[in-house]
């Protein structure tokens, strides 16, 4: 048991580092620093994706046969750490991490051949269509209907909290194709072209001032049967597969450490009144505590990865622990960063994206975005399986 990289892994890390040094422009890094949201502004994200595509590194988690990198988990971990360290724009979202694995596992050869390359080259950007206004954590209660009519479905209903749907070309969605039996059994997984007639997208602004979420309405939208994934009624199983999929292969340690490092830099700068926050014992104590949290979470990630690498399963308690702790750590860092601002916390810049504004010093820009980052961080414990759902999962395992 040890924490040592192999010689080969060291070489790999150096290769990644060299690539990032050369290709990750200051302008992209700045845009990411000024981005309060989970995912990058799509224009920035696609720019960066294009560069990764040239290198063949768009989809670190994909097998080589589909255009992925075919890396080991350890290499993916190292890649992720280096990208975060360098400050890359976050753009591996629903396209690469959600619809792609579903296509690989459940898609027909035609579907794979058509859709996967379009993800890599950025032609398609996918939005998620799970949540509905009436169904949040209780996903199976969804109501959006798809009626089979000849060779196509007619979709009516609405999806909400669809991230970046206003920039996306397509949506994968869970829809109801039957009302009989258990509610899970009538759910089907389909792909919707967002340029289809009958699709309307309503923006939802978040409390951090950014438009990233949307409500998407479907009014007699036609979806060819060939854009159904799997069989009718198989949607629930596919959704579950996706939830399980990331286990042991989702790393947040890198971004947490990068955020903490940025906060450290901010805290080492003198404030308007001359003090440095890092010299404030209460600030420092909180900062240090969070650093121990980051270490512990990082270690859990490595242990989970090691288990998966050896053919095992990290287990539901560690997995849910990591989901919960990542959200809390991210929130703590963001909250602590905002506590530095003093009266400047009152100022609010409404323009989005912030990177379009005239350039200021890195520190001033860090202060400018800190409130929005804090507000945005509150979503970490809500989306992607709320912390309450994670606690339920843990409790179920404990009481089994």
């Amino acid at each position: 048991m040890d924490l040592l990289m192999t010689e080969e892994e060291v070489r790999f890390r150096d290769e990644v580092r060299a690539f990032l040094d050369t290709h990750l422009d200051e302008s992209l890094k700045r845009a990411e620093r000024l981005n309060p949201s989970f995912l990058a502004d799509p224009n920035i994200g696609l720019q960066w994706q294009a560069k990764l595509n040239e290198q063949g590194w768009v989809a670190p988690s994909w097998p080589k046969q589909y255009g992925g990198t075919g890396w080991t988990l350890a290499e993916r971990y190292i890649f992720d750490q280096e990208c975060e360290r360098a400050g890359e724009p976050h753009f591996r979202g629903a396209s690469i991490k959600m619809i792609a694995p579903v296509l690989m596992r459940y898609g027909t050869d035609e579907q794979k051949a058509f859709y996967l390359p379009r993800i890599l080259n950025g032609e398609d950007v996918w939005a998620q269509g799970y949540s509905e206004p009436g169904s949040g954590s209780d996903l199976a209660s969804l109501k959006t209907k798809a009626m089979l009519n000849d060779d196509h479905y007619v979709v009516n209903g609405s999806k909400i909290w669809s991230t970046l749907a206003h920039h996306a070309t397509r949506m994968f969605a869970l829809v109801r194709t039957a009302d009989t039996g258990k509610k899970q059994e009538g759910i089907t997984f389909i792909l919707i072209d967002l340029k289809s007639p009958g699709v309307t997208i309503r923006p939802i602004r978040s409390i951090c001032g950014t438009h990233e979420f949307n409500q998407v309405f479907f009014d007699d939208v036609k979806v060819p049967v060939s854009d159904r994934i799997g069989e009718e009624g198989e949607g629930w199983d596919i959704a579950k597969y996706l939830l399980e999929f990331e286990r042991g292969g989702a790393f947040a340690g890198g971004v947490l450490r990068a955020m903490l490092t940025r906060l450290h830099r901010l805290a080492c700068e003198p404030l308007p009144d001359g003090r440095k926050m890092i010299d404030d014992p209460l600030f420092a104590a909180r900062f240090i505590e969070i650093a121990t949290d980051v270490d512990a979470n990082d270690m859990l990630e490595l242990a989970a990865m090691s288990k998966v690498q050896a053919g095992g399963n990290p287990g539901s308690v560690p997995s849910s622990t990591m989901k919960i702790e990542r959200s809390r750590i991210r929130q703590s860092i963001a909250e602590l960063a905002a506590s530095i601002l003093g009266p400047d916390a009152l100022r609010w810049e409404e323009h989005r994206p912030l990177h379009e504004l005239p350039e200021e010093s890195e520190i001033d820009e860090g202060r400018k975005v800190a409130s929005a980052v804090y507000f945005n961080s509150r979503s970490q414990s809500i989306f992607g399986g709320s912390n309450e759902i994670q606690l339920e999962i843990i409790a179920k395992t404990l009481l089994r």
Partner: protein, 384 residues
């Protein structure tokens, strides 16, 4: 010792709540926030009609002689309704300082207009480097033939966007004094600043602004009065925060009662019930703290600080948790700008950074209780 509201006070509270409920709902407020001025003149006029703008001033100055308790009731209602008009800045902070330090003619001039709703003064005191050390300012006034010339920078003047006259602090012969500076004075530049809570402040620069002799307020004790005014404002902020916390709890309880998940309302889940109960505990505690602050603003300085900064420190901490929990229990809905949850959250965040941060107030309170007599002393006071 009596801690029950009088019938008049209960009526005031009821009327304030009703007025804002009818005339200042969340949609109306959203329109005001999105407007050019970020200010609704009609609402301000109605506040004048209701007597809110006259509330804290003595009857001899044309006011209603209301005390800190009456102000606290208005502020709770303002918190719940998320009022962005500068009641705190113009009436409580600037207005009361003018009443304390103004000459008779200044009082007549400014307070009459303020009470009538035609004038909105704003205090421009803190500067970039001031932090929580109120004496640390560098604006200066120099004597001229027939008055003064004033220079300095005053960032983030609360209520400054809608102000017609500023109460500007500057050093005159080394002492901090206050001057009345009309918003249209020569040499004064005002830049509107949008704030995180939807309200507007301004950044003020003054460069050799010529002022008549009559612009100077009374007072060798100006700094002492400024500190006392900030403490009144801080007590008011504590009550505003309490109003917001209660509103967040109410909204969360209502939402979880309606929102059905897994076949039953969220409010039927015991884990969520206990979390709402913990929110209620924090709301109660905050209410206790704010009441102590309210009843301390006229006490001796050490008792005043114990009450006021203690409340700001305590409420800063618990209100943040309540706001975060309210968002969490609303789920995605709490994270969107479509409900007031996020606006309350942001206003509490603003309060935590107004007139001293939570950390600043904790330190200030800590310094006061280094004296064991303060630490171990009863909240009850001997009659004067």
């Amino acid at each position: 010792m009596d801690l029950n509201y009088s019938d008049e006070q209960l009526l005031l509270k009821e009327s304030a709540d009703r007025f804002l409920k009818e005339r200042y709902d969340f949609d109306k407020r959203a329109k005001i926030v999105a407007s050019d001025d970020g200010f609704d003149a009609g609402i301000w006029a109605e506040m004048a009609d209701l007597g809110w703008l006259a509330l804290p001033f003595s009857e001899e100055n044309g006011g209603l002689g209301g005390g800190a308790v009456e102000i606290s009731l208005i502020m709770e209602a303002i918190g719940r309704a998320l009022v962005v008009e500068p009641y705190l800045a113009s009436v409580i902070l600037a207005g009361s300082l003018i009443e304390k330090l103004g000459t008779e003619s200044q009082k007549a001039e400014i307070l009459d207009g303020l009470i009538a709703g035609t004038s909105r003064p704003a205090l421009a005191h803190a500067e970039k480097q001031t932090g929580f050390d109120l004496g640390n300012i560098s604006a200066t006034a120099v004597r001229t033939g027939d008055g003064y010339a004033l220079s300095g920078g005053k960032p983030l003047v609360l209520g400054g966007a809608a102000a017609d006259i500023f109460l500007v602090s500057a050093k005159l012969d080394g002492d901090i004094r206050l001057f009345l500076v009309p918003a249209d004075a020569a040499g004064l530049t005002r830049k509107t600043a949008k704030l995180v809570d939807g309200s507007r402040a301004c950044d003020l620069s003054l460069y050799n602004v010529p002022l008549p002799a009559s612009a100077l307020l009374d007072g060798d004790n100006t700094l002492v009065e400024i500190e006392a005014a900030y403490d009144r404002a801080n007590a008011a902020l504590a009550s505003e925060a309490v109003g917001i916390m209660d509103a967040l709890l109410d909204a969360t309880v209502s939402y979880t009662k309606e929102r059905v998940q897994f076949g039953k309302p969220l409010a039927a889940f015991q884990a969520l019930q206990h979390r709402m109960a913990e929110m209620a505990v924090k709301c109660q505690e905050a209410r206790g703290s704010a009441l102590l602050a309210t009843l301390s603003v006229d006490a001796l300085r050490s008792m005043r600080i114990r009450g006021v900064s203690g409340a700001r420190a305590k409420i800063g901490k618990v209100s943040r948790v309540v706001a975060q929990e309210a968002i969490q229990l609303h789920g995605a809905m709490g994270f969107s700008e479509e409900m007031p949850i996020g606006a309350w959250f942001r206003r509490l965040y603003a309060i935590e950074n107004t007139f001293g941060t939570t950390a600043d107030h904790l330190k200030r309170y800590g310094e006061i209780i280094r004296d064991p007599a303060v630490l171990s002393g009863s909240l009850l006071r001997e009659p004067a």
